[in-house]
Structure formats: C-alpha cells, structure tokens
Symmetry: C2
Subunit: 202 residues, 2 copies
Amino acid sequence: MEVADDIAEIAALMGEPSRATMLVALLGKEALPATELASQAFISPQTASSHLSKLVAGRLLTVEQHGRHRYYRLASDEVGRAIESLAIIAPPPPAAHNTQEDERLKTVRYARTCYDHMAGKVAVAITRALEQREFLMRSGRSYEVTESGKEWFRNLRIDTDDLRTNRRAFALQCLDWSERQYHISGALGTALLDRLLNLKYI
Amino acid sequence: MEVADDIAEIAALMGEPSRATMLVALLGKEALPATELASQAFISPQTASSHLSKLVAGRLLTVEQHGRHRYYRLASDEVGRAIESLAIIAPPPPAAHNTQEDERLKTVRYARTCYDHMAGKVAVAITRALEQREFLMRSGRSYEVTESGKEWFRNLRIDTDDLRTNRRAFALQCLDWSERQYHISGALGTALLDRLLNLKYI
DNA sequence: TTTATGTTTCGTTGATGATCGAAGTGTCAA
DNA sequence: TTGACACTTCGATCATCAACGAAACATAAA
C-alpha cells in the first residue's frame, strides 16, 4: 500500500508529543524561532533541532533564516487542516476542568478565522447567543432561521431568504476543535463573518 | 499542552505502517474482519489483534462481533476525513509510474462518494469532461458555468441560476487526495451528484 | 578580537513498542 | 465429541528513536 505508507510517515511525524506540541504552537502564530519552540515543548535545543529538521524533511514545516535565528512555520494550509482534523477526533469533552487554562491555548482559540468559516470562541459565543434568543434553531445537522431571526439578520443587511435558495450549504453545524462545540458555517456563517468584519466588530 | 498530547496520541496510532494500512483499507470498504485486515497489512493475526485493539481503544475503530468473526470499521466520518487530510500532505505527485497499479487502490478510487461531495475517478473525470466541452471554466478557486453549460445542466433539471444565488459555496474546486486532481464540490457538485444518483447513472 | 547567543552534529543511553511463537478462549460445523 | 477456524493473551526478542551531554559552527554584539 503506497498511500498507507505515506500517511503513516506523516502521522508518525505528528505522533511524537514534542513535535505535536511544536506543530500546535505554530497553528496559532505565523512563525516561531527554534529556541521558542524548544521551550514550549520543554525540550533542549538539541532535541528540538532534531525534531524540527525531521518536520522540514517531511514537508510539514518550512524554515527561513533571519540572522542567527531560524523561523519555522507550517508548510501549507493543508498541514494546518490536517492537524485540526486530528484534534477533532481527540478524546471526548475533557470533563470541564477549566481552572487556570493555558494562556497560549486561549490565544489560539480566540477569534480564529479557521480559513473559511467562523470558528473559535467568538463564533461559538455568537452562535449560542443566537440560539438563546431563538433567532436560530437546530434542525438535524443544520440550523434554521426563525422569523425573528430573519429580522435580526436583515438589520445586518444579510438577506437570509437570498442565501437560503441553496438550502444545502446554508447554515451547517460545524464542530470546532478548539471549543468542541457546534457553530454555524456555510453560507450564513460566511455572510455573517463578512458583515462583522466590514463593521469592524472583530 | 493538553491538545497537543491528544493530537499526538491519535497521530501515533495512525503513524505505524501496519495500522495505517488497515485504516486505509477500511476507507474504501464498510467493514472488514480481523483476518482480512491482517493479511492486507502482511502481519500475523496476533500482531493485527494487538493493533486493532489499540485502534479501538483510541476510538478510531469500532468492532462488531458476528459469530466467530469480528468486523472492524472506522468509528466515524471524522476519522475518515482525518486520514484523507493526512494523505493530502503526502509526498508530491509520485512521478507518474502508473504501470500496474495496485488493485485495491483502484477500488477505493473508483466512485468514492467522499461523504459529502463528489470525488474519486468519476467526479474528476466528469469535471474534466465538463471543462473540455467548455461547460465549466476555472476562475480562481472556483468554477464558472458557461452559457452552453447552463443549458446542459438544465437538461439534467439542475437550475444553475437557482444555485448560484449563493455564490460562495456554488462550485468550489476541491482537491481529491486519491486522484490529486481538482473537481467540483459545493452546491453544484452536490446537486449534480444527487441528480446522477436519482438517474441511477452511478 | 572576545564574548554571548542561536543552532547543529555526534555519540551514548534508555525506553518504548512491533513482531511472532506458543498457548489459550470462544464459536461453528460435522 | 471432535475437529476446524477466528481471535486473543502471554512472553521474549529485537529494532527504533527520543533525549541530552559535549563539542562544534555561525552570527551578532562587546
């Protein structure tokens, strides 16, 4: 199995805790120097160097030399997506022990655009608020907009009837790995995000 | 890093060649017994048993006992998606040595529904055909439907103007890992697939 | 130049884990 | 009951690889 070996190679690179930590660290930031990554993973610079060179050889990271620093970043969006897709399968809700959460993790969670649709704390919060005010209702795997919801969206100059024409991608529930909660994606989510960005709410 | 450890655990499970082979084998089929998986991975039943129990413990697979057989299957669509997302990052196009391709691989590639949108050989072939007849034109990251294309779709009772109302998810290019080619996804792709399934073309 | 800092290479150690033989349990068929 | 088959558990072997100390290299500031 040619393909399986390729997959195994990539997965093995991500399957080592120190490397996984560095990769996740790079999910949030744009690029980080080797020393910073080493300290985040609690390993010595030598060990980090070894890991990083493997990640580069495996095409998961790219390097850029600036003076005596070497800045590492994810090689592509696909790598980021792959890491997220693994996070989604991770163990079920960790039994709510929110006490003193990791600060870096918060940064990642906060207002992450998630490439195409809304995600992260903002999106989840907005979605929950919309649900509580009964502007949005869950319906199987997607959301329905209520009458009062239509009006609310209209105030934001978002025509839900217009978007709805294509029912399929209208307002899907989308599992956000960092919050492990559902939020809206699809056409409605994108329209909402665009609008909020225009209004500079975010 | 709580999250990173979770990711590492999942990735480590996928990062062992024998396990990866079994997972990929399950991507195509619905469910397979332990012995079959063992032979596909070229390992003894004992070793396979060990791997499979780890995959079940890691929530990547589920088991179902039928008589003296145990049928394993992917635990969820998310697991399938994660495996695919890893395959996408795999080494660049393997330099076209199509001679005598693995038979099982072909089976996976053929007419794979890819959960939500069209994928696999059929979808790629259809998409390319549509492009060649100039029913479809690439435009950045999405596709545009030409005038002659509109008519062709209308014959299939697919109203492109209707779908187009929501421009965003209308007809995205979607990279299929098994073919490493772009094909259509989004509203148009789904509508086309539904129609073809109804007409029993597939 | 000297000194400090960022990073790599080398060599060794130690732990983890894949593998299979041997032996066991459970299920089906004769 | 007696086999045959599907699968698991146990135990031992063996290879892989993460980790760091030591040393080297490279760049930048003193």
